[in-house]
Amino acid sequence: MAATLLLLLGACEKKSDDRPVAATSSDTGGSAKGDLGPPQGPDVNAVLTSPPMVPPPTGRKAPARVIVQLDVIEKEMPISEGVTYTFWTFGGTVPGSFIRVRQGDTVVFHLRNMPDSKMPHNIDLHGVTGPGGGAASSFTAPGHVSRFSFKALNAGLYVYHCATAPVGMHVANGMYGLILVEPPEGLSKVDREYYVMQGDFYTVGKFREKGHQPFNMEAAIDENPTYVLFNGAEGALTGDKALPAKVGETVRLYVGNGGPNLVSSFHVIGEIFDKVWFEGGTKYNENVQTTLIPAGGAAMMEFRLEVPGSYVLVDHSIFRAFNKGALAILKADGPENRAIYSGKEVDAMYLGDRAQPSLQAVAAAAASASTGELSIEQQIAAGKELFAGTCSTCHQPEGQGLEGVFPPLAKSDFIAANPKRVPEIILHGLVGAVKVNGKDYNSNMPPMSQLTDDEVANIATFVLNSWGNPGGHVTSADAAAIRKAQPETASAGH
């Protein structure tokens, strides 16, 4: 396939030189071209930031010697409201401090393990070229410091993590973070940059079970996390801690996945990533809805905010978001733009699902009516359903009415005096004073002219044959005739 393409290209451009074709202009050359020479200028102390903040661009045009000092701190922190967990951290946070260097830099790494640590620790930076990513060179007992150096040959966004035995437990306790190796030309300027990192956590107690929760080794081996979180705690990036932004701004997220086990289907609800540097590499893809971030991997993504509101960051393996905590908020302030997004325009009732099975009796009556086999029993059954949907709100389910407001239909002397009133009032309403069963009512029933003749006939028949009323039979033809005649007492509606 490739060969065919090359031949075609050659033919079109009428070139016959033997230039190597593989190294296209978009190929950065990888580590072979990553050594930009010896460090120049004075040493630079790396700016490390706690999540969700990102250090400023290095702003350098030449490789430097960059000093990184990272502390290993074992500490108890909240993992959810009222729930604490002993985290092992790089820099006191989960994820660990964000490190930003430039391709070609020589990084002098000091790993300091606090004296009150229980465990030895080390660090494997995926941005390191060399066996173990620095792990073997940084194995550090409590109260000790290790130093090693590496040259950052490949640009990209890389995970770092602890690799001391047992690796899984060190990672599960939060020992991971991101190091950004900027390309020599730097990254494009954006309005905001944020650092978000997913991780899965395994506790002995259930999700949100209060108190201090120890690490659950069995659950970790089974890959069945209790929590899946952004930035180490449920609510780390929600409410007051939501990531702020403004309409019109372009936001770049640096998103890592520490694992130890789960891969992330990273998604921002209501946004489309304009660009995704998938796998944290050099190339970007455009117009992406959800991007996969492997455990021990990372991605960068950019999007412009057009419409204000809260954008929810989730792992779209969605039960993790709503049942295990993988949820963060990016809150965009600014003016609405109804041309792009209208907001809610209509909220109307929709009864589509009422047809089955509650209105089965109505359907049966309609079918029988069409074949001329409609019985009074069918009319009563259908009328009962229609009464429940249309009339019972005022006259009450058992026709008892509401005293002083809506007259009763049950055992009604008003109906008994003239049963024909029932379909008339349904169709034309009733306004003015009436006396029913010895009590006075003076209200306004609107005409129910939206009902079909069949429906009016069925409701009237149901009412006449219920609650001690005198009985009777109203047909569809009766209803049609009544519809045409306007009685004196008719309501003009509300």
Binding site: E74, K75, E76, T86, P115, D116, S117, K118, M119, P120, N122, D124, P131, G132, A135, A136, S137, F139, T140, A141, P142, G143, H144, A163, T164, A165, P166, V167, M169, N173, V204, P214, F215, N216, M217, E218, I221
Partner: protein, 258 residues
């Protein structure tokens, strides 16, 4: 538990005769033992000869007596090659304990060399890793409780707590089936052959161990990778040099049984 009660009864009955002997040691019968370490030259379990092990970790009070009798091990006298600068740093003075080192608390901030010298002064020695592992496999009722996930969880729960609070007194926890206390849940402990525990610095190199690091005994690896509890202890010991001292590392002594 039953063992310790019967031992105490025995002491009461025999009176001062045994009290004059060293009663701080429990006797462990030894035997064939399945270590979590995979020794290449061991096929049917590791042999552990009968030995005695101190029932409790060595305390500040014990170590103070040793230092007073052996002033070359005072922190102001000790050779730096045998103990780093932080050796016994939590004591108020070279021969005084003070509020941060109560007499009944296990001694910490001790180097391997100092621990070794202490045990020699008591006509004892540090336990080997195999002996330590053999003794620590027991819980209160079983001599080998290691396959019980609940037992492992208990140990891990301690491992996951930082050492930023005062240590408990030695001997507060219930004795295990051998009558030994505090093997877990109080402090890490030096072993005589700790430096042979060369779990690779980078734990993930298990398929490609640096065999040049292992002289004679052959390469070690874990035969029970689910036993994180022991793995972490090995990792801790393998991160240390002999002169190192930490806030949570103590020791106890062992000796051959007659």
């Amino acid at each position: 538990m039953r063992r310790s009660i019967s031992a105490a009864m025995f002491l009461l009955c025999t009176g001062g005769v045994l009290a004059a002997a060293d009663t701080g040691f429990a006797h462990l019968t030894g035997g064939s033992f399945r270590s979590v370490l995979k020794y290449e030259d061991v096929k049917n379990g590791t042999r552990v000869a009968p030995f005695d092990l101190q029932r409790r970790p060595v305390t500040n009070g014990d170590f103070l007596a040793f230092v007073r009798a052996n002033p070359q091990w005072r922190r102001d006298n000790v050779a730096r090659v045998f103990a780093e600068e932080r050796y016994l740093q939590h004591w108020q003075g070279p021969a005084t304990l003070g509020p941060n080192a109560l007499p009944e608390q296990p001694v910490v901030w001790v180097s391997w060399f100092a621990a070794n010298a202490y045990c020699k002064a008591r006509n004892a020695r540090l336990p080997t890793w195999s002996e330590w592992e053999f003794a620590s496999a027991a819980d209160e009722t079983r001599r080998d409780a290691r396959s019980d996930p609940a037992w492992r969880e208990r140990i891990l729960a301690w491992y996951s707590r930082p050492s930023n609070k005062a240590l408990a007194r030695a001997g507060l926890q219930a004795p295990n089936a051998w009558g030994v206390q505090d093997l877990h849940g109080l402090v890490w402990e030096w072993t005589e052959d700790y430096s042979a525990l060369l779990v690779s610095d980078d734990n993930r190199n298990q398929g490609d161990p640096d065999k040049l690091k292992f002289c004679g005994a052959g390469a070690l690896s874990m035969s029970d990778v689910e036993n994180y509890a022991v793995l972490m202890r090995v990792a801790m010991l393998s991160s240390l040099n002999g002169a190192d001292a930490t806030a949570n590392l103590g020791f106890r002594c062992a000796r051959d049984s007659p």
